[in-house]
Symmetry: C2
Subunit: 469 residues, 2 copies
């Protein structure tokens, strides 16, 4: 009888694990069953705002691989619209409900389990049950529901987006491109709190330039409704009329099933794994500190931040794919590790590119670092070359040692992906002084003779050695 | 009496050294004199092809800082059109000729000398004296001469570019954009031999797409003339009619003065320095293996390739600027080093971006490495995102250890600067297996969920462990 691998959650992490395991072990050796609550497998949730705006066609274009491909090419028994409701660790079975079959319950034995349930939106602190017109944009199903609402009569005219993070900012832009009047509300001093406020101020400017009404330092206290439809968002500083509300309050690991089933959680609320993505945290039958045969990957797990060494929960498709691949290789009998993250993220707000990696100022302070910052404005190309446009690079480095701690970039074209240079520098624990010598590509169409990253490193290197101000 | 610093060569390296030294030491402490043979200081020679094509205005736009700025803001006594003809090491004097003053000779004492004479074009092995219409494009003065020739009657119609390296390829494109019929001749199997031939084939295709007649495997044996003007380029496989010939045969360190003056050269023919850019190679008065008070920087020096540990001569503005800065900081009393290069270079051929870092296959073989290669085609953005375009990434890694040895990228927009990620990975001696985990920026406008660099690293990691084929 072949070993049986059961995957809970059929998106990036789970299906990467399945297809990697299959690559290494045939169906006679390893049976693979994947349960997915929704209608889709392996899709790009990050693409939803662009589907809403109309920039990309959806939902089909956002699906990397459909269930039929997994079934046919990878011999994975994909079961859509099946919600796993319990994991019986003693009997090593999962219990699932077939949502399109009256909730019929079924049990499946497993030898190997991959927990890959992703993340769920952070619920707002106010009551909103039974009010129509309030949406998260976490899944393709969410995207479908929002599009249907936007297209139905009476056509929504006024949108309020709550939360100015990546999803909030991208959705605000998507909605204004569809012709709605858009207000973006955020509690913090600037939108895009994933960068420091001085950099976030440039994002705010770009949003305002698009015609978005940006309200910062504003707390939402509730929503009002008329006839069961949302009519306004209530804030500490007044009412904002709304025919549609999009929530971008962030996400948290989707661990309800894990908690119910007695799987241990880490300090961030995500599942904790070792470097090979084996669940750890409680003595398991394996005797090695892992829970024998139980793996986890994707937005439901926590990982290590390589700068601070602390556990973090950073839900991002690129991590989910890598973690799923690592789990699958290990389950398949190979060897792979996921050695943590440095906190890289990029996004685009109209023509403005925004990127970050490592620690922000507040993170550095919280981690106990004495740090210096250096912010420079430079160009993406040689100043005389057509299309040259300004970009701002900010570096954060440890005082004294010059160890790079974090970096942020805001600029026009060809800015954001320069963060990768800084991410690799962080990964390798470089100092800003060493970075001043980096051999980066130079030609007039691509960079000034001193790349903006190098200019920033020079300024930071000067600051590192200077006396504290 | 202040110490006196004399700079020989007033372009990137020399003037960077001067301005950095000045930043740290005032005119009362350090007198700075810079001799420059040509008409300009601190300009972007890399911009010359774009000036020829008309894409950028020249020559003013290509000048980073003019002599007046150096004189006024940095108190550097810049002497244009002065050629240094000898360095008297015993008397610690330079002897110069004032070219615009009948060659009048003058002597200047120095305490500190910065040798920054740059590079000179490799001369062709054939006789071309007294034939008009043959140009290098090494300096702004070269660019001026070529532009004047192109604009004068009789208007040149047919151009032959000899040599398919960066300058040759960029000049071929510039000339065809000006409306000339262009033939590009190269001895090798593909143009752009700075990348492997499989990648160079894509460059050839792009050049042909522009209408350039690309002849590879062809050796030039001479030039023909009519009335003192070039009329054809002679090759082993026939005559190529030409009204203008551009030579892109590469450059070599400009060391004639050094040789005449008894300064020692390294194995590549460039001047050899220590990490602080002090000239080494012969016992000097300093007793520490350096030649006391003699510094060198820029295209005239050799440096260390950090992958092979061997000396290399890689003339590039970005290195010249860094080396000049390092020399200047040290002369100014600070501390800085130039720790070598990894061989990064980027260029653009019409819409095609070409990038490389580290070793090519032939370099790896020559250095004695057993290596594997991995080439992948991926997209610059998420496949469904508007503007997604293909790019090819090739990695070369040591068999067994997986140590990254080199990388090449050819693609459309947003391709070339991705080489920087690989350059930083090389700098830090990463393995391709470790690179599969790198935390690179992901969002649909900027990358697929697996960045092309990561896809290539995955494929290379697979190949590293496989049995030799």
């Amino acid at each position: 009888m072949p070993e049986r691998m059961v995957i809970v959650g059929g998106d990036a992490a789970g299906m990467s694990a399945g297809s990697q395991a299959r690559r290494l072990r045939g169906p006679d050796d390893l049976e693979i069953i994947a349960f997915e609550r929704g209608h889709f497998t392996s899709y790009s949730a990050c693409g939803v705002p662009y589907w809403i705006s109309g920039l990309v066609d959806g939902p089909d274009a956002l699906i990397a691989r459909d269930p039929e491909t997994f079934r046919r090419k990878h011999a994975i028994d994909v079961r859509l619209r099946h919600e796993v409701t319990a994991i019986d660790l003693d009997r090593r079975e999962v219990i699932a409900r077939a949502l399109d079959d009256g909730g019929r319950e079924l049990r499946e034995r497993f030898d190997t389990l991959v927990y890959a349930t992703g993340a769920v939106p952070v619920a707002p602190p106010w009551e909103q049950d039974d009010i129509a017109g309030i949406f998260g944009v976490q899944t393709l199903d969410d995207g479908s529901a929002l599009r249907a609402w936007l297209d139905a009569e009476p056509r929504p005219q006024r949108a309020v987006v709550v939360g100015g993070g990546y999803v909030g900012v991208e959705m605000a832009e998507a909605l204004i491109r569809r012709g709605l009047a858009v207000t973006l509300v955020d509690r913090g001093p600037q939108p895009m709190s994933t960068v420091d406020p001085d950099m976030g101020a440039m994002v705010r400017e770009a949003l305002c330039g698009l015609g978005i009404d940006v309200r910062t330092g504003v707390s939402v206290t509730g929503v009002a409704e008329r006839g069961g439809r949302v009519s306004a968002v209530l804030t500490g500083s007044g009412e904002l009329p709304a025919d549609v509300v999009v929530l971008g309050l962030g996400v948290r690991p989707n661990t309800a099933l894990a908690e119910r089933s007695g799987l241990p959680l880490g300090v961030t609320g995500g599942l904790r794994t070792d470097l090979r993505m084996r669940l750890v945290g409680a003595p398991g039958p394996s005797g090695d500190g892992t829970m024998g045969g139980i793996w986890a990957a994707g937005d439901c797990v926590e990982t290590v931040h390589r700068v601070t060494g602390q556990p973090v929960h950073i839900p991002l498709g690129t991590h989910a794919n890598k973690q799923g691949r690592v789990a699958g290789i290990n389950i398949g009998g190979g060897y792979a590790t996921f050695p943590g993250v440095v906190g890289t993220a990029v996004t685009k707000v109209c023509d403005l590119e925004v990127a970050r990696t490592g620690l922000r100022e507040r993170d550095a302070a919280q981690a106990g670092y004495a740090y210096v910052t250096a912010t420079v404005e430079s160009n993406n190309r040689a100043g005389y070359f057509p299309g040259a446009a300004p970009m701002t690079v900010k570096l954060i480095a440890e005082r004294g040692t010059g160890l790079l701690l974090g970096a942020q970039i805001v600029g026009r074209s060809e800015s954001a992906k320069r963060i990768d240079v800084l991410a690799v520098a962080l990964w390798n624990r470089m100092t800003v002084t060493e970075m001043t010598a980096l051999d980066l590509g130079y030609a007039p169409p691509f960079a000034p003779v001193w790349d903006p990253v190098l200019v920033a490193a020079r300024k930071a290197a000067d600051a590192v050695g200077a006396a504290p101000s």
